[in-house]
């Protein structure tokens, strides 16, 4: 805070509050989506039929065709909003990392993890969404594609897609779990008394989702796709 800053520092307005609401809401919406997404994809662990059944239901009802673009928009909106807090200049990045190193403080490191994972998710997540959304069944003659276990397995098995999923899965799970905890502390849902427990839940959640996700990836890798 510079000493001579006696002029009004910020023009009074409500934009910051609305943007903060939107950042939280898009984040929360994406968390819910990610949980649902993971659970639905992992249905392949119970067999191709289970996953194809769910995918078929989502496509014939139009839920997938409608939901896909909604998620994509939420994803981009969330990025634009959260980017207001991301250190982009190298000066800020040096300060942020130097600060975390000095402090050896878990929550500060978790934030760095969130920022780094965010940038990877932005790139890899966009690629992933593009391929899946362009594969959707759109009901035009000749567009017989649609989501199904065989196509997904073939993609996961094909290098470098395999690498994409191996990197994207843990980073997405980390980002989501940390984001869940962070919404809690920022909005005062998690209080001082409950913080230890909330953090434990955060770690357990990240671990559980990582486990389910890894099992699903392995299932895809081992699937016979002729």
């Amino acid at each position: 805070m510079p000493l001579e800053a006696t002029a009004p520092l910020a023009k009074p307005g409500r934009a910051a509050a609305y943007l903060d609401w939107l950042q939280m809401l898009t984040g929360a919406f994406l968390i819910l989506f990610m949980w649902g997404h993971l659970l639905m994809v992992s249905s392949v662990l119970f067999g191709r039929g289970a996953m194809n059944g769910i995918a078929g239901f989502l496509e014939t009802t139009g839920l997938a065709q409608l939901g896909g673009p909604v998620i994509a928009v939420a994803f981009l909106l969330h990025f634009v909003l959260a980017a207001r807090k991301i250190p982009f200049t190298s000066k800020e990045q040096r300060t942020a990392v130097g600060h975390a190193k000095m402090l050896h403080h878990t929550d500060t490191w978790l934030w760095i993890v969130q920022v780094v994972s965010a940038m990877v998710i932005l790139v890899l997540g966009s690629i992933h969404m593009w391929t899946v959304l362009t594969d959707l069944y759109v009901g035009v003659p000749g567009s017989e594609l649609g989501i199904n276990a065989e196509t997904s397995a073939a993609r996961v098995q094909k290098w470098p897609w395999t690498l994409l999923y191996i990197v994207l899965l843990p980073l997405a799970e980390l980002h989501v779990s940390i984001g869940f905890y962070r919404i809690g502390v920022k909005w005062g849902v998690i209080k001082r008394k409950g913080r230890k427990k909330a953090k434990l839940i955060e770690y357990i959640m990240a671990g559980a989702f990582l486990l389910i996700g890894t099992a699903t990836l392995i299932r895809f890798l081992l699937m016979d796709v002729n």
């Binding site: 510079p2 800053a5 409500r14 942020a96 000095m102 909005w187």
Partner: protein, 247 residues
């Protein structure tokens, strides 16, 4: 089993053109109930009279002795060497203006912050020196006191990643300061007026919830709960004002 402590202390005198920032090492035998205040005083008396650091009350009350102790901001007078490893690294608080070696100027920042949050009771009531003092219920008084315990040491601000990246951030101490007036029934400011002070990215919406402030505050102020409450209150205030009849 007295230990031998190795101190690594940041040295730099901005007033002296010949001085360059560097670390100096000092070796000291540990004594019983030794605090960093005692250790630094002994180093200055026995080894290096040029060493600069701030102390005043030596009892965790004045807030002048904050420094970075093995990476964490804390009070020198409050920190026992017995709780630290043998190797102790001391740096001045970042964020604030360096006076020399471990001494920083927190006062200028705090005064500026007080001006920004208008840290005084805003009231239209005329003061009547003849009338009896108005009573406040005990619970409210205790809530205010809990937040008023801040000793302005600056640890929370120096530990805050947000403050480190954006100098104009009010920090937990500043947000806590305004919260103290928000619960004070004598302050007649409206929620909208409070919002105009902290409802922005220099204020509560800049806070990213890293909670380093909460974890380093030597007086254990309820900063986490305070920040969460403030964000909800200010966010709700902005939301209700979308409604045309709430202006």
């Amino acid at each position: 089993m007295a230990r031998t402590l190795r101190f690594h202390v940041f040295r730099y005198n901005p007033q002296d053109p010949a001085s360059t920032p560097h670390m100096d090492a000092y070796v000291l035998d540990e004594t019983e109930s030794m605090t960093l205040y005692i250790a630094l005083t002994r180093i200055r008396e026995e080894q290096d009279p040029s060493l600069m650091f701030d102390f005043c009350c030596r009892a965790g009350v004045c807030g002048s002795c904050a420094m970075v102790i093995n990476g964490r901001p804390g009070l020198g007078c409050h920190t026992k060497t017995a709780d630290l490893p043998e190797r102790i690294t001391l740096l001045p608080l970042p964020f604030f203006k360096l006076v020399g070696d471990l001494g920083v100027d927190t006062g200028t920042w705090f005064r500026e912050m007080y001006t920004r949050v208008e840290s005084w009771i805003h009231t239209e009531k005329q003061f009547d020196p003849a009338s009896e003092e108005e009573r406040m219920d005990n619970e409210t008084a205790e809530q205010i006191y809990e937040l008023d315990r801040c000793i302005e040491c600056g640890c929370c601000v120096a530990a805050c990643g947000t403050a480190r990246m954006r100098e104009d951030f009010l920090g937990a101490a500043g947000l806590n300061r305004l919260a103290r007036f928000m619960i004070d029934p004598r302050d007649q400011r409206s929620d909208k007026e409070y919002f105009d002070v902290v409802g922005n990215d220099q204020g509560i919406f800049g806070c990213m919830g890293l909670l380093a402030c909460e974890d380093v505050c030597p007086k254990h102020l309820p900063l986490q709960d305070q920040l969460g409450y403030m964000r909800r209150k200010m966010a709700m205030n902005a939301l209700t004002r979308i409604l045309p009849w709430k202006k």
